[in-house]
């Protein structure tokens, strides 16, 4: 959990954010959204709608052209370099292109966020083994990640995002290369992490993973929120702008 965060505010608060990539590609336009602590949120939308851009804004990989973003009590427009570092240690991201290191082993890839936090070796081993079981890759523990199939790599990316038990998990198309059976396992993992206190945002096209849940879903269209379902009656702040 983030230290500076008080529970009565939304965990993520995005206010009228616009992101324009040079020269003039409008990825997000005047978007507002708030996510409560402990929520699971689905972000859907056509290819190129701006899902990845929104996630990148939340984890400080991009800066908005307009608008305010507040994550776990940090105002991202005023955040210092070392604050970004400690914020990122609290965020686990499943990148759409995985960003795993092909020449390091599965173990090393998953352990990386914990090593960065100087977690002790025993705890790292325990946690990695536990995660490997969840993603069904125990037999690939010491294989170099570049020699895995794409679906296996995606699972490694998911395990890495989860490894540090982060306060926030951003999963960008986490099941794009996974079959229905394993997708279900992964969703179970996310639910477990959520139960343990993580807020989870999942950007996806895979209808099957959100069809039967009661979590909130926001649909993006050309950089605008076009629709949102509010199952849990939790937050009403996320509005079409």
């Amino acid at each position: 959990m983030l230290k500076s965060f008080s529970e009565d505010r939304p965990f993520i608060d995005i206010t009228k954010v616009t992101k324009v990539y040079p020269p003039d590609i409008i990825a997000l336009q005047n978007v507002s959204l708030s996510v409560d602590l402990g929520e699971i949120l689905f972000l859907t939308g056509m290819s190129g709608a701006g899902k990845t851009t929104l996630l990148k804004l939340i984890c400080c990989m991009e800066t908005p052209n307009k608008g305010l973003i507040d994550v776990g009590g940090y105002d991202l427009s005023k955040i210092s370099a070392s604050q970004i570092q400690s914020l990122r240690q609290q965020i686990g991201v499943v990148y759409q292109d995985f960003k795993i290191l092909p020449r390091q082993t599965v173990f090393q890839n998953i352990a990386m966020p914990m090593e960065v936090c100087f977690t002790n070796v025993k705890d790292i081993r325990k946690r990695v083994d536990q995660l490997l079981e969840s993603i069904k890759l125990t037999h690939k523990r010491d294989t170099v990640a570049g020699k895995l199939s794409r679906g296996e790599q995606q699972r490694v990316a998911i395990a890495r995002a989860a490894s540090n038990s982060p306060a926030l998990i951003l999963a960008d198309e986490p099941t794009g290369n996974l079959d229905a059976e394993i997708s279900e396992e992964i969703m179970k993992l996310f639910t477990e992490l959520n139960a343990a206190g993580s807020t989870v945002i999942i950007a996806t096209h895979d209808e099957s993973i959100y069809r039967n849940t009661e979590h909130r879903r926001i649909e993006l269209e050309h950089g605008l929120f076009s629709r949102q379902t509010q199952k849990k009656q939790l937050s009403l702040t996320g509005l079409m702008s």
Binding site: Q85, R88, K99, L101, Q104, Q108, N164
Partner: protein, 296 residues
């Protein structure tokens, strides 16, 4: 802190193991650069030494029309020293000059017996300081000496000085130009090998930043690596240079040669300086090259 130290050592060990190819390349680059640089430094230092030694043999002789009485000597000494610093001034009387010639003739000296001991003119020999090696300066000095009272003619081994001056000048130009070229080559080599290292590490650095690694976490292993590479690379380079030095010394060993020139290696202080510089460059270079990953 102890857990962190452990992490860093582990990290460094892992890096070394995973990218030993690149590491070896960098090590070789550092060695080669240090070798090249210190080789030229050594050549330069020995060249200066040599030119000083050879410069010792330079002397100017003023032939006089009459002997200098001992009381006058200090005044002339002063006049000479006023113009240029000199090492030594020797007054040669007629008889001294005669004795010298006699010695020089060796077996043939009896031919002089019929001549009077004063057929040779008296002279003053001037051994200039080492800073007076430039031909033009020597000529100016010689012109000045010709104006001294009683000076008939001023002589110095003009052809020898010219030849020697030409040699040192050429050597200096060659060493200087080589030095510039080699510094360029060295800079190129070091930056190319750092670039190769960074290319290999790019993905890892990006992800480390994204999972929130602190500057310390990223820089410490690099610092250790740079330190190791600086130390081992430059030591290897210097050991190689010393081997070359010894080989050259042996190779050039001949009777009498070392009376003229003695090859000298660096003093310990210079060696230490070279190693320190190498370490600084290695760590500094890798820090500079990952600078763009240190933003955010």
């Amino acid at each position: 802190m102890s857990r962190q130290t452990y992490f860093f050592l582990k990290q460094t060990a892992r890096n070394l193991k995973q990218s030993w190819g690149t590491q070896l390349l960098t090590l070789m680059t550092v060695s080669l650069s240090v070798l090249i640089f210190s080789f030229f430094l050594l050549v330069y230092i020995n060249m200066i030494n040599a030119s000083e030694r050879l410069g010792d043999e330079l002397r100017l002789i003023i032939y006089l029309d009459h002997e200098v009485i001992p009381e006058m000597q200090p005044r002339i000494r002063k006049k000479i020293s006023d113009f240029a610093e000199v090492e030594k001034i020797v007054f040669i009387s007629k008889s001294e000059a005669f004795h010298r010639l006699k010695e020089q003739l060796g077996g043939e000296q009896d031919v002089l017996d019929d001549l009077g001991a004063d057929f040779l003119p008296p002279s003053i020999e001037i051994y200039p300081r080492r800073n007076l090696h430039n031909l033009t300066q020597i000529k100016e000095f010689s012109d000045y000496l010709a104006t001294l009272p009683g000076a008939q003619k001023v002589q110095f081994g003009q052809s020898w000085v010219e030849r020697f001056g030409y040699f040192t000048e050429l050597m200096r130009v060659i060493v200087m130009l080589s030095g510039i070229l080699l510094i360029l080559a060295t800079v190129f080599m070091v930056s190319a090998s750092i670039r190769l290292t960074v290319v290999a590490k790019e993905a890892e650095l990006e992800i480390l930043r994204l999972v929130g690694a602190t500057n310390t976490y990223i820089q410490t292993p690099l610092l250790i690596e740079g330190l190791l590479q600086g130390i081992f690379g430059s030591s290897l380079g210097l050991v190689l240079l010393y081997s070359i030095f010894l080989w050259t010394k042996m190779h050039l060993h001949g009777p009498g040669l070392f009376s003229v020139l003695t090859l000298q290696f660096f003093p310990v202080s210079t060696t230490v300086m070279i190693i320190a510089t190498a370490i600084l460059l290695c760590t500094g270079g890798s820090f500079a090259s990952i600078r763009k990953y240190m933003r955010i």
